[in-house]
Amino acid sequence: MNPETLPNEPIKLTPKDFVSGQDVRWCPGCGDYSILSQMQKALADVGLPREKFVFVSGIGCAARFPYYMNTYGFHTIHGRAPAIATGLKCANPDLSVWVITGDGDGLSIGGNHLIHCIRRNLDLNILLFNNKIYGLTKGQYSPTSEFGKKTKSSPDGSIEHPINPLCIAIAAEATFVARSIDVYTQHLVETIKRAAAHKGTSFVEIYQNCIVFNDKAFGDVTDRAVRDDRILVLEHGKPMRFGKNKEFGIRLKGLQPEVVKVDEVGEKALLVHNEQDPEPNLAYLLTQMQNPDFPVPIGVFRFVERPTYDGMLNQKVTELIQQQGEGNLEEVLRGPATWTVK
């Protein structure tokens, strides 16, 4: 969203304002419910009126999301939401556009649109609900499912090496990359707000539990008992520490991060998070940190500025009009050469 288009008077909305009348039809216990609530909370604070929001989704359980938001919404076709959102945003740059996608929708059939949308840096927000499974089609492995996973379509174990969504986003030259978790409600609300504030494509991976077809896919990270030791909450400018008492830290050894005890190495030795690093190297390294060798980083990995596609497109329109005036249709009709028949 252009800050210029923000209305002058601050708009006061509550999460309830964003609840549509539609019955929510996810399975009881699905992680999508929490994401929906956090979204409604976050948007209430963004300061835009409801009608300025548009939710665009593909197909999947996650993609049902727009129906439940009392905003404009477009439940499109499988994998194409980033492309549809691109046209929407270019044609109507005043809108705050949110793409809701799943690991299948966004990384399997829709992987290419996702990448190209990110590299063009459209000013929109993409939330990828990663449940490591195809939920809506009842449980086939997805591009993020772990190697060897047994599912309906891989009864003897998948032979596909999974893809790392954030790493793909970084490779696609993303300007905003973050991760959060369905059950980390406060963190999720903050992450969504950060995404909303970023001008450019904000890409957020959200770990989401599919209770029916892939329950506890993130249990080894999100279980209350272990989560403090398995999750690294990234904070800009702060040394990377984790553990119940923040007793562990991340240090760099050559090009390889390593887990250290803070009291053994001292806080100074730790890597300090810099989401604004113009080089994507640190953000890339962070995407490589995976359980069980490392805690899983959540928060904002990368947050840099780059002109947006829609911004530049509209600027070119404005500039050309300034230079040449509003187009003269008669001239175009006449073309390069005419003659008169009498």
Binding site: S20, Q22, P49, R50, E51, K52, V54, F55, V56, I59, P66, Y67, M69, N70, T71, Y72, G73, F74, H75, T76, I77, R80, A83, I84, A85, T86, G87, L88, K89, C90, A91, N92, D94, L95, N112, H113, H116, L313, K316, V317, L320, I321, Q323, Q324, G325, E326, G327, L329, E330, V332, L333, R334, G335, P336, A337, T338, W339, T340, V341, K342
Partner: protein, 637 residues
């Protein structure tokens, strides 16, 4: 050196088929003729398209009616001098109304052996060949697959060959210009040849001279060289004995007005730019490059100050999807492609069918299936447009009849899309796309007006309410307060637009979608019959066959036979009076650039015993082919 000695006419009684040059007998006379077809051919690097276009512009300026058709080398770029590298440009001009670029050239200008080899089979016996003999070297002959030099081995005896050392003459003409490299000098030879042709057909040089000066204003030596080449060719023609006759074609009786020359793709682009102006909307053009549609993208990308935004997408699916997004945003979503890309867009078009959003999908058809003949024309995507999507998926279909008609049919597509909230498929083809014709420039004030009303009131709003007349649903611009709503590809409940799996609702909505499209016929003009209102034979065409069909029907009508023609520019729905018109004729002929697609629809819908004439050769119908079929059918019992 003239191998093909002048001969008498080939016995054809038909004016348009005859070879006017054959009538040249005495020396340096000036002779009036009614029509002529010239084809310029050479290597891609020889500048034949440019020469052809300059000849076209001047021909237009002198008031002839004309029609042109370029033929490019296949998609690959071939080494100089080889057969696949040959590029051609054909122009038909006349003192009467003409409708096609001509069945075959009367005159073939060839700049190298490959050009001769590729084009010779199209030249009728007795046709004239003007050849740049300097290029008929061993090496070039070899590349063209000639063992012997055809200019000298007698193999062209059926033609009248005018063999000229154009490269040498050209080099001579430009030799004194300072700072001109040899390569630059040689590159002027198309203008030398053009100069010859200008004399031969009695056309003035000024327009091209002016063009040269403007084009090369920053390269004075190149400008000077081209000018000298052009004039050199002209003077050479005056002097040489090899060209005894100068021909003159009188202006055609053309409707008065301001004219320009226009290709189909240009007309599409101009139409879309006009649509942006006339609707007050942004035209959002999402496209992925593909022959022969790419030029529309190129053209439109230069008109941002008309609120035309182009988006070169990562593929065709993204292109149409983005266009749908733009339509959802309340602007004019347009996408354009050719056959293979059109196939890829099918799933997304259906999203626009279900969500009832305006969308223009332009398919500039080419030879297929698969990659097929990418640079060649064909008309075989009609059924794909009609039914190439999952389930019952009615869309409107329009097709342009001539290059200039692309402008009007694009405006019609826009009108239908926004009036009826529906995708509209616009069909053109490779022949229309790059072929050109003189086009009477419409006054802006005479163009249709578009009044788009977006729903803004929050009372009584439902996303799938319907306008009682058009059955269109409301078009709401996201951002409108109080109208927040959600649409999508799942079946919709009537009126509310909520997701619905209700059996009877699905039947109702399926029928409503079909009925809405059928209802467009109410706003489609009735067919006008060319010829008698009833009779023996009706020829039914669509798309680019218009010119050849009407010319053929005209010829046979002039022989006093009972044959009429209609041309369909609306393919779905059909004009209201189509069924009735069809039934007024005993026989029906449907010539198409496919194996019978309109034919199937006509027979299936109206149960009329129509016959097809199918040409799938990557090139348009010749008038003669249709004429023969008409004659044949008129003989049938």
């Amino acid at each position: 050196m003239v191998r093909g000695a002048p001969r008498g006419t080939q016995g054809s009684t038909n004016e348009e088929d005859s070879d006017p040059h054959a009538r040249a007998v005495s020396k340096k006379t000036r002779q009036g003729i009614d029509r002529i077809v010239v084809r310029f051919a050479g290597d891609s690097g020889d500048g034949m398209q440019l020469a052809g276009m300059q000849f076209t512009d001047t021909t237009a300026l002198v008031g002839n009616d004309l029609s042109t058709f370029p033929s490019f080398p296949a998609e690959i770029r071939a080494p100089a001098g080889t057969l696949p590298g040959v590029s051609g440009f054909q122009i038909h001009f006349s003192d009467e109304d003409i409708k096609t670029p001509g069945d075959e050239p009367n005159v073939l200008v060839v700049m190298n052996p490959a050009a001769l080899r590729v084009n010779l089979s199209d030249l009728p016996e007795g046709g004239v060949i003007i050849a740049n003999r300097d290029t008929f070297t061993e090496n070039n002959l070899d590349k063209a697959g000639y063992k012997e030099n055809p200019l000298t081995d007698g193999s062209l005896s059926k033609y009248r060959v005018i063999s000229l050392p154009i490269s040498t003459l050209n080099a001579e003409a430009v030799k004194d210009i300072p700072e001109l490299t040899r390569a630059q000098a040689d590159r002027c030879k198309n203008f030398f040849a053009l100069g010859i042709m200008f004399w031969l057909y009695d056309r003035p040089l000024d327009y091209t001279l002016q063009w040269i000066r403007e084009k090369f204003s920053k390269m004075p030596s190149v400008a000077q060289a081209n000018e000298k080449a052009l004039k050199g060719g002209y003077t050479f023609a005056i002097a040489t004995e090899q060209l005894p006759v100068q021909y003159h074609v009188n202006p055609a009786p053309i409707e008065p007005g301001l004219y320009r020359n226009i290709t189909g793709n240009e007309a599409v682009a101009v139409g879309l730019i006009a649509a942006a102006k006339l609707t007050g909307k942004t035209v959002f053009y999402g496209s992925y490059p593909i022959t022969p549609a790419s030029d529309i993208l190129h053209e439109l990308s230069r008109y941002k100050n008309f609120h035309v935004k182009t988006f070169q997408a990562e593929d065709e699916i993204a292109a149409v999807s983005a266009a749908i997004g733009a339509s959802f945003a309340g602007q004019l979503g347009v996408t354009g492609t050719s056959g293979p890309g059109f196939a890829l867009k099918a799933e997304a078009i259906n999203l626009a069918v279900m969500t009832e959003l305006p969308l223009i999908v332009m398919d500039i058809q080419r030879g297929g299936p698969s990659t097929g003949l990418p640079t060649k024309t064909e008309q075989a995507d009609l059924l794909q447009a009609f039914a190439g999507r999952n389930s019952e998926s009615p869309v409107a279909i329009v097709a342009a009849a001539t290059p200039g008609d692309c402008f009007y049919m694009i405006l019609e597509a826009v009108r239908i899309a926004i009036t009826y909230m529906t995708p509209v498929v616009f069909l053109s083809d490779g022949y229309l796309a790059s072929g050109s014709e003189p086009w009477k420039i419409p006054k802006v004030s005479e163009l249709p007006k578009f009044h788009i009303v977006h729903w803004t009131a929050s009372e009584g709003f439902y996303p799938y309410l319907r306008d009682p007349k058009t059955l269109a649903r409301p078009w709401v611009i996201p951002g409108t307060p109080g109208l927040e709503h959600r649409i999508g590809g799942l079946e919709k409940s009537d009126v509310t637009g909520n997701v619905s799996y209700d059996p009877l609702n699905h039947q109702k909505m399926t029928e409503l979608r079909a009925k809405k499209i059928a209802g467009i016929a109410e706003t489609i003009p009735d067919l006008e019959i060319f010829g008698k209102e009833e009779g023996e034979l009706l020829v039914v065409g669509w798309g680019s066959t218009y010119g050849a069909i009407y010319a053929a029907v005209d010829r046979v009508q002039k022989k006093g036979r009972s044959v009429s023609a209609i041309h369909l520019r609306y393919l779905n729905p059909f004009p209201r009076n189509l069924g009735e018109v069809l039934r007024r004729f005993k026989k029906i002929l449907v010539p198409e650039g496919n194996l019978g697609q309109l034919l199937l629809l006509l027979r299936g819908k109206y149960l009329v015993e129509a016959t097809g004439l199918h040409k799938v050769q990557g090139r348009p119908f010749q008038i003669r082919e249709i004429e023969q079929k008409i004659e044949e059918m008129l003989r049938w019992r």
